[in-house]
Symmetry: C2
Subunit: 434 residues, 2 copies
């Protein structure tokens, strides 16, 4: 029985004639960045209000792939998944002091009984309240809970599509510790997991010391995806040192870059996208909100906390920034909405049957396939395949098919090759794996 | 490479000593229903505010299993998954007329620029706006989009835990059609999928004609899980006819039940839980919001729409209502947080190594395993295993283990058997499958 095997059976084969992926002819004036333009043009997202987007089928498949990678990395370092509320009571934010401190980025609302709530931009208060009263002893520590959840931050000027939205998807993890050593250890494990997540998303990045900002605490590292059009500015050195220029404050002089504090060499400047950040919170939340445990001597202590965030929807945009050309997106295989596109230029039942057999054979190996079976000109199909960015295209051309072969094109390099019909599946798998 | 195989690697083996599943000693006074009490006691959920709950690791594993089943059934009838915003602009609700009609259950908020928004209790406006301007021709129809998303309804009196919460998880699907026949056909396909979902969740249910309420439209069917303590009341006949008593309005006389309208026989009364509902919306939203397509003659027409909802968090509660006893939950295997619990009553390295090997072998077959390795009395472990409700318990007792065998206990029937250590994995798999 399917339920017993607990296998995911995603819609592994999709036909373009059925796919809801409307292309966009006129781009909005505020779409400046490649990731914003391409996400709209390729039918990944649509704007529902300023800074608020809907994910269409192709875009949401990418989101689910990013979420899968993040879940695997969190589970691998012993984190446990929970789901915390979007709507949070004001009292908890008053206890931590952030109800007043947070400012207008915190969206507030009253319920029908005039009780005040906010939409969670982050979940320190909710998680501290959740574990308060449930942990008793040092033996209950350490542990880490995480969630993948919608968040809302009422940005004064939402822009750049998913890069600076108001409603966004985030993975946030919260850890609880009885000692600084234990917090340090998990902070390192999270940082290493974040590096692996960037690698698996094929994101070139730099880890930089960062400001803790409204979250609080004292130690923080930010993972910046390198990008020409990011919102963050970083300086870095060949020795491996990198820093957000914000940490230099008003003293920073763009025309007179400081020497590397680690090796003294001259540094370079670049602009980045903040895809994730880890924080040591210390006892800021446990102390203000009264979360205590008893140590070995029976004395009440405040646990030390860490929090660890990955911008999921922002990561989608960062990957597009790093993986595109003038024709469209070039998805890394790990998160592509489909891994193979079969372009049907040859009509007739035989070609259709071949595509069906090839797709079924690939799907059986866990490879998702998009078949372009639309009644469109070849040029339209070539352009849309490049725009959507499936890593490998299989072109079933008229003359080729009659001669018993198909053409393979790697989206990233443009490299082309041919395969006989009989060896098409094997060749596709081998080409994808290399 | 893991990413290429696209396999889910859930945390298939968990140790109770590490699991964040705090048990609750004192139940809140408002916890009247078995599902509410047991979800709290077993550490599935915690209340964060009135009608607003956090899902702990065990509870969220069940939610993800229900979501998987719903996704599979939606994908199987050709629906495509999207993600629509939680925060929705007032203008769209003003266009449909529901901004005024909906009343205080619609949670409203102003952003920092004093623009009005609401938290989506349902997504007809957002989806109609999304496809408006993107579909052009009758050839673009029919199609169905669905999402699994957080919703918010500001209930005047939230109660019964997840059954009548304010923030809840729902699957909602929306279909678009060029003809009534096409709508009827998909409405039937959805109804059949809903019946399969109830079956796969092991929910005994009745499908009844229903009122369209605030959603609008004219035709609706509700799927009521049979329960002693549900909020809905239904009458049903042996011939298969069933109806929500609400559809009889003020005329309904509990002491003088109407005859079955289909066969004339006397009917019976019972209380149900509304787990899902399907609606034919007609052109209510397409007409008020100006969503048009061109028919074959080039004339502008309003698509007919349907919408189809499954309460995900409510389904969790409904399953507990139908599957529990005085000792705790009896999860159906399809959605159990773990399928097997290994209770370690025997100490020592040999027993621990045996449990590790057994769990690894089961996990390789897609069976999730919870090992109770806590330093607790046997009685505590027995009670917690029954409370959490894993379908099969493997009891590694002191004397049994020394004699080379373990005991198996089926949670649902209480049936016990033994297996030799060498055959434990095979016996567990066979017992689960029967």
């Amino acid at each position: 029985m399917a339920d017993n095997a607990r296998q995911n059976t995603p819609a592994a084969i999709m036909r373009m004639s059925r796919l809801y992926a409307p292309t966009l002819k006129e781009l909005p004036a505020d779409a400046e960045l490649a990731s914003h333009k391409l996400a709209l043009r390729a039918g990944l997202i649509r704007r529902s209000a300023s800074g608020i987007y809907s994910f269409l089928p192709l875009g949401y498949r990418v989101i689910k792939n990013i979420e899968r990678i993040v879940r695997e990395e969190m589970d691998a370092i012993g984190c446990q998944e929970v789901l915390l509320p979007v709507v949070q009571p004001a009292e908890l934010w008053q206890q931590s002091g952030r109800w007043d401190d947070y400012g207008p980025e915190l969206a507030r609302l009253a319920d029908r009984h005039e009780r005040m709530f906010c939409l969670g931009p982050t979940h320190e208060e909710i998680i501290t309240d959740l574990v308060r009263g449930e942990i008793r002893s040092y033996r209950d520590l350490p542990f880490t809970l995480y969630q993948l959840q919608i968040k809302f931050r009422d940005e004064i000027r939402p822009r750049f599509g998913l890069l600076r939205g108001r409603e966004f998807i985030m993975k946030d993890a919260y850890s609880f510790h009885a000692s600084q050593e234990s917090l340090d250890e998990h902070y390192r494990a999270q940082s290493e997991a974040y590096a692996r997540i960037c690698d698996r998303l094929s994101l070139a990045y730099r880890a930089v010391d960062a400001d803790n900002g409204q979250i609080g605490g004292s130690v923080s590292t930010e993972f910046l995806a390198l990008a020409d059009d990011g919102e963050a500015e970083l300086i870095y050195c060949r020795c491996g040192y990198a820093a957000n220029t914000e940490t230099y404050g008003d003293d920073f002089d763009r025309d007179n870059l400081p020497a590397c504090p680690r090796c003294g060499a001259p540094m370079q400047i670049a602009r980045g996208i903040e895809v994730s950040q880890v924080f040591q919170l210390g006892d800021k939340y446990s102390r203000t909100m009264g979360l205590v445990y008893q140590d070995e001597s029976g004395a009440d202590c405040y646990p030390l906390m860490g929090c660890y965030g990955v911008g999921i929807s922002r990561s989608l945009a960062a990957v597009i920034e790093q993986h595109h050309d003038d024709d469209g997106i070039m998805w890394p295989r790990s998160i592509a909405p489909y891994q193979v596109a079969i372009l049907m230029l040859s009509e007739g039942d035989e070609a259709a049957a071949f595509a069906e057999t090839l797709a079924t054979e690939l799907a059986a190996c866990g490879i998702e396939v998009l078949i372009d079976d639309r009644d469109e000109r070849a040029g339209v199909k070539f352009a849309d395949a490049d725009l959507i960015g499936t890593p490998l295209q299989v072109i079933v051309g008229k003359r080729g098919f009659e001669a018993g072969e198909v053409e393979l094109k790697l989206r990233k390099t443009g490299e082309r090759s041919t395969a006989t019909l009989a060896e098409a599946a094997t060749t596709v798998k081998r080409t994808l794996d290399t």
